[in-house]
């Protein structure tokens, strides 16, 4: 495991850190390798390989559970939904198309959708309760075996979120981490609907550029 020396000492909060733009490459290659590994495993899973599924579980379960728990807050519900998501990954692995994105992204997309579905289902059955949104830095994350690549990825996401305007960041985090619709976000922020839609879009575009996410079918 490589130590991303400079990056590791960075303060662990959301405040934008005026650091030189390109992150040290130390953990980057490892992160990319992790993504490639997930792609390969998911393709094997699509062929019915249960052992590959076990390895894929080890690679992505903390990400899936963490995301679902972040949205739902309740650990028991999060466990239930995470289980649904991971079984769905197995069941629908044949739908994964590596030409359209990474396995990690495909799995996170399912996880986020299911978590948000659960939030909306709750809202439909019970009286709507406004969740108090917290900034990403306020959520404690469990201690896990240290992984340079993961820490670097987290720091990179935090730094890039910090580079957004306040409205962009709030619109994106209220939707993604708290599961609000853009209408609810507009209400919460006291902003106009078109403004919220626009901030979500341009905020994501800025994040994309900051994170160096490459389109798979980009032809420009």
């Amino acid at each position: 495991m490589t130590d991303p020396s400079g990056a590791r000492r960075r303060p662990d909060h959301l405040t934008p850190v005026p650091s030189p733009r390109p992150e040290p490459n130390a953990g980057r290659a490892e992160a990319d390798a992790g993504r490639a590994e997930a792609d390969g495993l998911l393709r094997a899973v699509a062929l019915g390989d249960e052992a590959a599924f076990g390895r894929l579980y080890d690679l992505v379960a903390a990400r899936v559970y963490g995301l679902v728990r972040r949205v739902l807050r309740d650990p028991a519900q999060a466990e239930e939904v995470a289980q649904e998501v991971l079984v769905e990954v197995w069941r629908t692995a044949t739908r994964f198309d590596p030409a359209r994105g990474s396995a990690t992204s495909w799995i996170c997309t399912i996880a986020h959708r299911r978590a948000v579905d659960r939030v909306r289902a709750e809202q439909a059955s019970a009286e709507r309760q406004v969740r108090v949104a917290t900034s990403p830095a306020e959520t404690p994350h469990d201690e896990v075996p240290d992984q340079a690549a993961r820490r670097l990825e987290q720091q990179q996401v935090r730094r890039c979120l910090g580079d957004l305007t306040e409205l962009q960041r709030e619109a994106i985090t209220l939707a993604y981490y708290a599961g609000h619709t853009y209408r609810e976000v507009a209400e919460l922020l006291g902003a106009a609907l078109p403004t919220v839609k626009t901030r979500m879009r341009d905020g994501l575009i800025r994040l994309r550029d900051c994170l160096g996410v490459l389109g798979v079918e980009v032809t420009r």
């Binding site: 249960e50 579980y57 197995w90 692995a93 996170c108 289902a121 994350h141 939707a175 994501l204």
Partner: protein
Amino acid sequence: MSDIHTLVGAYVLDAVDDLERAAFDRHLADCPSCATEVGELLETAARLADGAWSVPPPRLRAEVLAQVSRTRQERPAPRPGRDGRSTVSRWRTVTAAAVAAAVLTVAAGVTSYLVQQQRVRDERAATVAARAELDRMQEILDEPDLVVRRGGLSFGGRLTVLTSPARDAGVALLAGAPPVPPDRAYQLWLMAGTTPRPAGVLTAGAGDDSAVLAGLSGMSAVAVTVEPASGSAQPTTDVLASVPLT
């Protein structure tokens, strides 16, 4: 680039409602360059999960693997991309254009499904019938007095009812409902008080389908039950959802 495309950020963040999602999916089908943008932004949004890492309880692994060992995988069959099964219970009017897009997305999927199912026996008749149904839906959805009503469902799915008082007709849209066995189907009922009138049997086995509703005056609600695929004269199972019409 159409107006619906301004929803791309909200769509990627799962911050849209079901009708908007369906409308956006339909937009994507017509816009290859938009699909590239959506792909990139989905990849970007997924990176937000990097900041939410949390180790699950160890029992989760055993439970997931046990369930996996007894779960059959889907066969690799390309199917129209509509998904999402939140249960939304609220009444809201939306613009006729967005609704029409949403309904036609589902209806078009059903059309192709019908075509596949009937191919051996009677492909042409099915296609013609499905197209006639689609045309009829389109006419209803084009009415300026269209009202959208949505019902809370107990079983994980949504029943949306779009009615045009001027035409005394409407469209019922079932979306995200759990598939039923091939010999069963969701059946719609028009309720006059507590008296049900059969209002159409949806495609056998399917959890996503739509149907035209005729003769709405005097009717108080649209209900749905699960029945044998051939349909029933009276509901034989519990009402799963009921959308009031008044």
